[in-house]
């Protein structure tokens, strides 16, 4: 039974922390529940990237494409096909999985730097297409997306929406953690460490890469749908390159080799960018609006050079040095 308790303990911590967010965020002036919703949504997408780039070692600078496909699918299916938001989210995730499967079938013909450039080109291409097509509303996007509803209960207000996003995040984390602890997950890690070694141990490289690409695509899609039903508006900026980079930063800052890296990274990076927005305008400069990317960049470089396993990874290394502790994943 001890194993059950120690397996469940991290989830209990996650749920406790997520439940602590509303009382804290509504009282501390710096944070709002809208910030918390944003963190939760991006943590879900980041989780996919942790599995893809962290465990399997396959970098993607195009995750915003899948986030965007999810958001647009939700928008189009609910405003034009009359589907319910929940169904829109599910169909969007399915569609994204399919796109991920097709793209994942040939994008892994290339590796390393070439893969980075290929995913980058894929993301940019999708962003450009979303801006041109009629069905996506062209440059003006799609407005009046219905809010998410379970039956007749409409999830409105940032606080309610936060609980929904937090619930999805918990489910995604449980599934993600089980995945990395399965044989499939071990194979992914082997693949991330050395492709040649993994392949000679019988790991079907191409199939595993494609599968984890699909998982990351579906998670990004769910996050994108949640975003679309929250802000009730999407346009081509949803697929912006900066989002792909932001997700990569969150995964790296949080920790690429642990599922806890996703929520930790999303929290830290959004907090940092909020802090920058609060503090920088007080400097005597003619600053516009996007300057907080300097903070992203610096945080990224500092973490990569001094905490190569990310903040969550670093914390777990500390824990592991204590005796009689079962290492977490």
């Amino acid at each position: 039974m001890r194993t059950t308790v120690s397996t469940l303990r991290p989830y209990a911590v996650l749920v406790a922390v997520l439940l602590l967010v509303p009382p804290v965020f509504t009282r501390v002036p710096f944070f709002t529940m809208a910030t918390a919703v944003q963190m939760g949504i991006l943590a879900i997408a980041t989780l996919g990237l942790v599995l893809l780039a962290g465990y399997a070692g396959q970098i993607s600078i195009g995750q915003a494409a899948f986030y965007g496909i999810g958001a647009y699918a939700s928008a189009i299916l609910t405003t034009q096909a009359g589907l319910s938001p929940l169904l829109g989210l599910a169909v969007g995730a399915l569609l994204c999985g399919l796109v991920g499967f097709v793209v994942g079938s040939f994008i892994f013909r290339v590796r390393g730097h070439y893969l980075a450039l290929a995913t980058l080109a894929f993301g940019l291409m999708m962003g450009n297409i979303a801006r041109q097509l009629e069905i996506t509303g062209g440059a003006s996007g799609i407005v009046d997306i219905p809010r998410l509803a379970v039956g007749t209960w409409v999830v409105d207000g940032d606080l309610r929406y936060y609980y929904l996003v937090a619930a999805v995040l918990v489910v995604a984390t449980v599934l993600g953690r089980n995945l990395v602890r399965s044989l499939f997950g071990r194979s992914l890690q082997a693949l991330g460490d050395s492709e040649i070694a993994a392949s000679s141990s019988g790991v079907d490289i191409a199939r595993h890469k494609r599968a984890v690409f699909v998982v990351a695509a579906v998670l990004a899609s769910v996050a994108g749908s949640l975003y679309a039903h929250w802000v009730t508006f999407v346009d081509y900026h949803t697929l912006d390159l900066l989002l792909s980079i932001q997700l990569l930063i969150m995964a790296t800052v949080g920790g690429l080799r642990t599922v806890w890296g996703a929520p930790v990274g999303a929290f830290l990076v959004i907090t940092l960018s909020q802090a920058a927005q609060e503090l920088l305008p007080r400097l005597p400069t003619n600053v516009g609006g996007e300057f907080e990317i300097a903070v992203y960049g610096l945080a990224l470089i500092v973490v990569l050079l001094f905490l190569p396993r990310g903040v969550a990874g670093g914390l777990m290394t500390l824990r592991r040095h204590r005796p009689s502790q079962e290492p977490g994943t």
Binding site: L124, F291, A294, V295, I301
Partner: protein, 290 residues
């Protein structure tokens, strides 16, 4: 027909700048094995600082020299502060590091300079030249001439000087190069400095044509990648031809298609070439990098 000719001339001008960006990417990739996502920001720095000094009334030559000095200094700082300490990191980490360097440069530029575009005077004043029906801005000629000189100078440096040969040696076989006392660390620094210089030169000649702002580096860098990949990522001459080709394709496409498709075509090309011919369009043998 004259329309086409005009598109080609305009395309070759922007293509020259893409060629310089691509050349910088190839140089760094050859010597260090890294794709430098900050290359576009070197162009932005060169263009923006030159435009700022031009607005302040600094003469052409001092303005160019100061802009290049600033860009090269930033290039050296990127290598020493971000790349050198992480030499043994995995490919993903190095990629993320240069992305970090890129957005740090952009962010600091935004804090210091702001978001507004700035305007540089053309190198030589006067009305555009007319050759037949084709309008050629005087600055176009500067772009062509400076690009040609930069490419030639780089070629001479790499093939005729000891340092240049050492750099190529370090690129071909780092271990053997180390045995003959070529320091990979110094060569990496040199590669970044030269890449920043090439980018800065591209920025300076571009500045009078496109009022530069802090954000232009992203698009320029992406076109530079496309140029470098078309040429096979390891071929300087391929990158130059790739850059010119993209400039022309883009310019012609913009003439006939809705303007939004211009970028989609460039990135579609990048995607297709990466997946179908990762060795580039020019190379016949397919070499596998392990």
């Amino acid at each position: 027909m004259s329309d086409n000719l005009q598109f080609i001339v305009t395309g070759l001008t922007t293509g020259s700048v893409y060629a310089l960006v691509g050349l910088g990417i190839v140089l760094v990739h050859q010597v260090t094995g890294i794709i430098n996502f900050a290359q576009g920001d070197f162009v932005m720095l060169g263009a923006l600082t030159f435009a700022l000094f031009s607005e302040k009334g600094l003469a052409l030559l001092p303005g160019v020299l100061v802009a290049l000095a600033i860009t090269v200094t930033v290039g050296a700082l990127v290598e020493r502060l971000a790349i050198a300490p992480a030499r043994s990191a995995t490919v993903e980490r190095l990629i993320i590091l240069t992305i970090g360097a890129s957005i740090t440069i952009q962010g600091i530029t935004l804090v210091v300079v702001g978001t507004n575009p700035h305007f540089a005077d053309p190198f030589s004043p006067g009305p555009p030249l007319r050759i037949g029906d084709v309008v050629v801005l005087r600055q176009y000629l500067w772009v062509f001439a400076v690009t040609a000189v930069a490419v030639l100078a780089l070629w001479l440096f790499l093939t005729r000087t000891l340092t240049g040969k050492a750099m190529r040696a370090a690129a071909t076989n780092p271990d053997a190069a180390r045995i003959v006392a070529i320091s990979p660390s110094r060569m990496s620094l040199l590669a970044f400095v030269l890449a920043a210089l090439l980018g800065g030169v591209g920025g300076v000649v571009l500045a009078p044509l496109q009022a530069p702002s802090a954000g232009i580096g992203i698009a320029l860098g992406l076109k530079g990648f496309t140029a470098a990949v078309l040429g096979g990522l390891d071929s300087p001459s391929g990158a130059v031809l790739g850059g010119l080709a993209i400039g022309v394709i883009e310019s012609v496409a913009a003439g006939y298609l809705p303007s939004g498709y211009k970028d989609a075509i460039a990135f579609g090309l990048l995607f297709a070439v990466l997946l179908l011919r990762p060795q580039g369009l020019l190379r016949r043998t397919s070499a596998v990098r392990v």
